[in-house]
């Protein structure tokens, strides 16, 4: 690597006032033709390009992004990483990702600040207790670390939680995945971009896709704001805008795009050293390395591409946060934002070929795609390179909506939808 990051490069650049760092990736103009094009320069798209180049030796490829890389949901999520999903197919998929996360900073030579601080999911009623215990057992059968904590153990693990039996939805226990945690979201996009660029991948920003050109049942290329680019393989990783791209290609997807919100508080001293999620009252919380509380809210109930979200959703979340953590009653919130998430009817993603030759979709990650970024990229790259899914993403094909073989993860996807 021409500009490998190390303690020595840090010292060297510190001595020259950090003014001589090399740029991390090029800013090329699109070539006339590529072997494959990835639409969408978020974490999943850049990871796909990285693994296509690294594992499948496809170096004549490009990532086209309408804005700047990592500016969509990669930069808008609450950075939670876990793999405690219910079904075997999901366990395989999300734990594959978690295992890559564990060595990702070293592999990319880029600190993604992966922190295995644990993720705790709270139960507030008898059905929650049953469901979460069942999920704990299912996880352990699939080799995923999971433990059940009773109310006292929850309190011990995270002392600021109000475990009084008198609150509206008392804490009856919870599950804990210790290998789970958080990572720096921007660094994931930048690390993959730098790694892919190093292997010759063209990352083309400010280049919006306007159309997909088909010749019968095959793709021929894409129309963009920077002109026509020829290719035989197109991987679409456009998140909330997947349906818009599908429409250009003339295919239908089972997706609905909705705004999902998050917010952060003013920075404070370390107060919570884990991630706590609660489906029933819909509040989840962690603390960033800067000290801000990072709070995830819910989705709006209607289709919208506005990247805002409604005020009442935030209000509901903060109400739940205040009941669970009375200590935050005087915290001020600094920023609130929304991202557009593409939700599948079974709350599981699609990593699949389509009926059009050379057209592949990686979408439907809904409210929880960030955690899967490395695994999603790896498996999607395999699917594109071999024109066949890897065994870990075979269940996540588009045809499951015809066959009825759905992967229902409404319970494990933390945001109710």
């Amino acid at each position: 690597m021409s500009n490998k990051y190390s303690i020595f490069s840090l010292i060297k650049n510190a001595l020259s006032g950090h003014e001589n760092w090399q740029r991390a990736w090029r800013d090329p103009e699109p070539k006339k033709e590529y072997d494959a094009i990835i639409i969408g320069g978020g974490g999943h798209g850049l990871a796909t390009a990285y693994y296509l180049a690294k594992k499948h030796k496809m170096n004549n490829i490009a990532v086209v992004e309408k804005g700047w890389i990592g500016g969509g949901n990669t930069g808008r999520n609450t950075t939670i990483i876990r793999s405690n999903y219910l079904w075997d197919a999901s366990a395989g998929l999300y734990d594959h990702a978690l295992k890559i996360w564990e060595g990702l900073s070293q592999e990319l030579n880029y600190n993604v600040m992966f922190s295995q601080r644990g993720v705790m999911n709270l139960a507030h009623n008898l059905q929650d207790v049953r469901d979460l215990k069942r999920r704990t057992h299912a996880n352990r059968l699939n080799g995923i670390d999971a433990v059940w904590l009773n109310t006292e153990e929850v309190k011990k693990f995270c002392p600021i939680i109000n475990t009084s039996p008198k609150i509206r939805y008392p804490v009856l226990g919870g599950t804990l995945q210790r290998r789970a945690g958080t990572a720096r979201h921007d660094a994931v996009a930048w690390g993959y971009a730098r790694g892919a660029d190093e292997m010759g991948v063209d990352i083309i920003q400010n280049c919006e896709v306007k159309g997909i050109k088909r010749n019968g049942n095959e793709v021929e290329g894409i129309e963009t704001t920077k002109g026509f680019i020829k290719t035989k393989k197109i991987g679409v990783v456009a998140a909330g805008h997947s349906s818009v791209i599908a429409n250009m290609a003339g295919i239908r997807l089972p997706l609905e795009s909705k705004p999902l919100q998050a917010l952060v508080s003013e920075p404070v001293k370390p107060i919570i050293d884990t991630v706590v999620m609660s489906n029933a009252v819909h509040a989840y919380l962690s603390q960033s390395d800067k000290g801000e509380l990072v709070i995830g809210a819910g989705t709006d109930s209607y289709v919208s591409y506005t990247q805002k979200g409604s005020h009442n959703i935030v209000e509901e979340t903060l109400r739940a946060i205040l009941e669970l953590y009375p200590i935050f009653s005087r915290m001020k919130m600094l920023r609130q934002w929304g991202g557009i998430v593409d939700i599948c009817p079974d709350a599981s993603p699609i990593i699949s070929k389509t009926q059009v030759k050379g057209l592949y979709f990686n979408c439907g990650w809904g409210t929880g795609g960030f955690k899967a970024t490395p695994g999603s990229g790896d498996l999607f790259a395999h699917t594109i390179a071999n024109d066949e899914p890897h065994k870990l993403n075979a269940a996540f094909n588009l045809n499951r909506f015809v066959s009825g073989d759905l992967v229902d993860e409404h319970g494990a996807a933390a945001v109710a939808h």
Binding site: N247, L253, L255, S257, V303, S304, Y305, T306, S310, V402
Partner: protein, 91 residues
């Protein structure tokens, strides 16, 4: 977040309503004769339009009646509201 003009109650806040998704998806007349592809189309495939979308809403915390809304999903502006059974307005 926006204001919806309920055809029965007038202008109310969107939080009083519940969205029923894409409108004018016709229930199959002969369900027993449908192929798996047609079932998938009916049950799962959605237009999910960025732009003008026709959708159903229910005034769940009001008159509890269903009606249709024409909304631009790129900016949440409502262009028309019409009752169930009425023809959608043509642009």
């Amino acid at each position: 977040m926006f204001i919806i003009n309920c055809p029965y109650c007038g202008e109310r806040d969107q939080t009083e309503f519940s969205c029923g998704g894409e409108a004018h998806i016709e229930r199959p007349k002969q369900p027993t004769e449908l192929s798996d592809d047609q079932w998938a189309e009916y049950l799962f495939m959605r237009k999910n339009i960025k732009g003008i979308q026709f959708e159903r809403w229910n005034h769940i915390h009001g008159c509890r009646k269903w009606f249709n809304v024409v909304r631009d999903t790129s900016n949440d502006k409502i262009h028309a509201v019409y009752k169930m059974g009425e023809r959608p307005p043509v642009k």
